[in-house]
Symmetry: none
Amino acid sequence: MIDKQSPIPIYHQLEEYIKQLIESGILKPDEAIPSEREYSEQYQISRMTVRQALNNLVNDGYLYRQKGRGTFVNKQKVEQKLQGLTSFTEDMKERGLVPSSRLISFEIIPAEPQLARKLDIKENTPVYEIKRVRMADNLPMALETTCLPANLVKGLTEEIINKSLYQHIEEKLSLTISEATQQIEASIAKETEVNHLQVESGSPVLLIVRTSFLEDGTPFELVKSAYRADRYKFVHTMQRATK
Amino acid sequence: MIDKQSPIPIYHQLEEYIKQLIESGILKPDEAIPSEREYSEQYQISRMTVRQALNNLVNDGYLYRQKGRGTFVNKQKVEQKLQGLTSFTEDMKERGLVPSSRLISFEIIPAEPQLARKLDIKENTPVYEIKRVRMADNLPMALETTCLPANLVKGLTEEIINKSLYQHIEEKLSLTISEATQQIEASIAKETEVNHLQVESGSPVLLIVRTSFLEDGTPFELVKSAYRADRYKFVHTMQRATK
DNA sequence: TCTTTCAACTGGTATAGACATCTAAATCCA
DNA sequence: TGGATTTAGATGTCTATACCAGTTGAAAGA
């Protein structure tokens, strides 16, 4: 279990070991794990080394401590992933649905003033505009419009879009999206949305507008989505700033 | 600077001291701070104690380390606020609006099965239920229902609610909310919402259901809000998981 | 039977020292 | 001059030990 000769630090080995027990469900939420002194004696390692492992797991949210009582397993954070940036595809997979898309239009257009401002480019700079109906288990889920500055992602084709736009961006262009802002509001489906989403007129939709940024802060894309309110719920976890 | 006789842990004193230097701008981003051994000798404390202080500051994002080179000051985080948990009051203030409330009802009720499950308590356990119309600049903004297990916040009064529920929770009861999950969806205003929010029937509303948790993972409150879609937009910043 | 006391746990704080590994500057040598 | 080597100093890992402070349950006492 613990190999003192390994070049991998002992605390890290213990960390991975405990993490595995939690993720596999052998250690259940609110269950106490062995005390620091027990680990120390069992593996013949210093208590401080055990503490280093446990501290990391506490910081990562796997465990919590109670002075005088012990160290306990935290409830699994399902949302850990959701905290990150999720594409429609990843989002649907996580919900256990099969994602698919139908391309509606794909063209290069000059950026309108509002779009130009949000992408921090000059007016009329060419941008790719991709309109798609996003589906889950073959049912329309959202109408999505993606806008990307053409100079950042040259040579985009329908084929690439249909395969995986994000994979292409990350692997082929080696660009990394590090941050995003989302604005979420409720509305009533407009006519195009009624048509493409196959809802009755007057139906509520959840509008999500996402602006993504690269590591250096350059705006990279603007994605506007209108989700069918009867099928989609946006879930989101926040952690308080530790002040 | 460092008082060894103080009941406040030494590592915590050092932590606050360095944090202050960073926040006041005396230590600038990417600047190296004194080495661990320097702190150790200067204040006659163990290097491990210094490391505990620095580790905490690294975890909180104030510092970063480079093996063999030193420890450096991180860039200030802008998004800290949005990432944190915001009450309606804080939210509105940040938007430059004046928040107020009108209490609709305040009672102790037995928890229904669904509520009990979400708050992880037994059915029919007494909970406080607070219904309020939340207003911004004296215009109805949202209809909000807050449910709290009565055993966690004994002796709640109308007066406390009208003053500041969160302040009471943090300062008087010394409970800390460390995490929250939110579910956001779009809907059409129901009758009570139409009445209290003064919207036309058929108007869209943004529904936000928030569950807050204490540091040990205990569910603490469930807040259901229906926002007027024409007045409210939910904004939210995400950072990609650093893997 | 009920209450109090206390011992045996728990994690929290702190020390002093050892060796490893990495970095960058100084030094040496061809 | 230019490249290799040494070296000083930085963080990283780990040990062994000590005492503090909160929790709990069993033993002792009323």
